[in-house]
């Protein structure tokens, strides 16, 4: 919808200037953080007191941080894989045809997005204490799948809605089984949205702090 005409408009120029200033301020802490990592002394000051790489080497000397990073990585990969498989299957079911209660089921499946992270965390804490589940990895996996699944579903479903169902029907008409037509016709078209879903699920899981903090002792995942 961009016509290009707007770029000569003084208001757009003003908005662009504001955008650059605000985004500079908003991203400045990230620059500062990265630069303070090169300090020669043990102070986190900017500009640094001299330069060194020893803090990067020091990461390797803190096994609990390396371990936490590994744990977060595995958790993010496994939970994303589960969420995306569930997302594909559910999105196919939700977009194949209209059926009674479809919108209701849709709202039901998206409901974790409406609930603030602290409440998600507390709910799972209370639930696992009640059930007596003492499996830190499995508990966190359940939480992270609940948190990431709605993102996977939303992205994949919207790509399926935009797709032309006639293509798949044509494949079936030409003699392909419906499973075969799914993998030959629908799946390739889904690929960009799958990539977006993987990106979202991975980042949301790896980055999750608030809900995760309720279920782990400090230091178990990297952000916590």
């Amino acid at each position: 919808m961009r016509t290009g005409a707007g770029s000569r408009d003084p208001l757009t120029t003003l908005a662009t200037v504001i955008a650059f200033v605000v985004l500079f301020v908003a991203t400045f802490p990230l620059f500062v953080t990265a630069i303070t990592a090169f300090n020669a002394t043990n102070e986190t000051v900017f500009p640094p007191n001299g330069w060194s790489l020893r803090w990067f080497r020091n990461i390797a000397r803190q096994p609990e941080l390396v371990q936490a990073a590994g744990f977060s990585l595995v958790l993010a990969v496994v939970s994303s894989a589960i969420s995306i498989s569930l997302g594909v299957v559910s999105a196919v079911a939700l977009t194949r045809r209209k059926f009674f209660g479809r919108d209701l089921i849709d709202a039901f499946l998206m409901s974790p997005l409406l609930v603030p992270q602290v409440i998600l965390g507390l709910s799972f804490l209370v639930f696992f204490v009640r059930v007596g589940s003492r499996q830190p990895f499995l508990n966190l996996l359940f939480l992270h799948v609940v948190i990431t699944f709605p993102y996977a579903l939303r992205v994949i479903r919207s790509s399926l809605t935009r797709m032309n169902p006639k293509l798949e029907e044509a494949a079936v008409g030409l003699g392909a089984s419906s499973l075969k037509s799914f993998f030959l016709v629908t799946f390739p078209q889904m690929r960009p949205s799958l990539f977006v879903a993987i990106f979202f699920c991975f980042v949301v899981s790896f980055d999750n702090f608030t809900a995760t903090a309720f279920l782990t002792v400090s230091g178990a995942t990297l952000p916590v």
Binding site: R2, T12, A15, V22, P29, V32, Q117, S123, V126, P223
Partner: protein, 276 residues
């Protein structure tokens, strides 16, 4: 695959997952209204609502979420305008910068702000170094620090939905108004702004709920000196094992969040109705 039963079978795993989550959520809500013996009791609500400290924290959480939402809207709207209207290169540069900020690890973002706002941080070193102040100004471990951190963390939540709506609004409407003699600002305020209200409202909901129930930002930039309701829930549950008080705080937080969602949706319906 075509049959109803097939569809249901496909949906079953996801339905089970979310049902598990809702069971957990319900168990918290139930916990808030029963006492230790399991009998119906509003004791935890009484101890929350009757305690001045908790009420102060609750009201301040609503207030800070409210004004941070307003600040995000004021800063975010021009960004969304710039994203949807400047030249392709500039627009994608802005989008990329905002996306990188948004997808950075939340803890890292807040850590960065601590390096900026701390007593030995960038701002204070500049102020003291230039001789403007003799001793560092307190910029964090107080409300100011928390408000700055929340604004930075929530800004993309405001910009993205507004941008999504602005992308669908044709500039031709504004051009028509311009050709009829309206000024640029007037055209923006009377044509584009009303059309972008749905985006503004979803940005407002996301920002408000995110800020109101924040835990990490007040935890780091408030440093225990400025607490919000999220910190109360966490402390009661994880440090004090006082699940019933945590559950009551969580229920109150959930009700206020959902109330905000419903109120904003009603406002948007009233707005749509008023324009018809």
């Amino acid at each position: 695959m075509k049959s109803r039963l097939g569809l249901l079978l496909l949906l079953l795993p996801a339905l089970g997952l979310i049902a598990g989550f809702l069971t957990a959520l319900t168990s918290v809500l139930v916990m808030s209204v029963v006492d230790s013996s399991g009998a119906l009791s509003l004791e935890s609500y009484r101890s929350f609502l009757g305690d001045e400290r908790y009420m102060t924290i609750l009201l301040r959480s609503v207030w800070i979420a409210f004004y941070v939402t307003v600040i995000c809207l004021v800063l975010g709207y021009p960004i969304a305008i710039a994203m949807s209207r400047s030249s392709r290169t500039v627009a994608s540069l802005i989008t990329l910068a905002l996306a990188i900020q948004f997808f950075s690890i939340y803890v890292v973002k807040m850590y960065g702000w601590m390096l900026i706002l701390g007593n030995n941080g960038v701002v204070n070193r500049m102020l003291v170094g230039s001789g403007l102040v003799s001793s560092p100004v307190k910029l964090m471990y107080n409300e100011l620090g928390v408000a700055i951190g929340l604004t930075a963390a929530a800004l993309p939540l405001m910009v993205f939905p507004i941008n999504a709506v602005l992308q669908t609004i044709s500039l031709r409407y504004e051009e028509a108004a311009l050709s009829l003699g309206a000024g640029r600002l007037r055209a923006l305020l009377t044509i584009t702004l009303p059309l972008s209200v749905p985006g503004i409202l979803s940005g407002v909901i996301l920002t408000f709920v995110f800020c109101f129930a924040a835990y990490l930002t007040p935890g780091l930039l408030g440093g225990g000196f400025f607490k919000m309701i999220g910190n109360v829930i966490y402390e009661q549950a994880v440090a004090r094992f006082n699940y019933s008080l945590a559950a009551a705080s969580a229920a109150i937080t959930l009700v206020i969040s959902l109330f905000a969602v419903v109120a904003v949706n009603k406002a948007s319906q009233a707005f749509a109705g008023g324009r018809r």
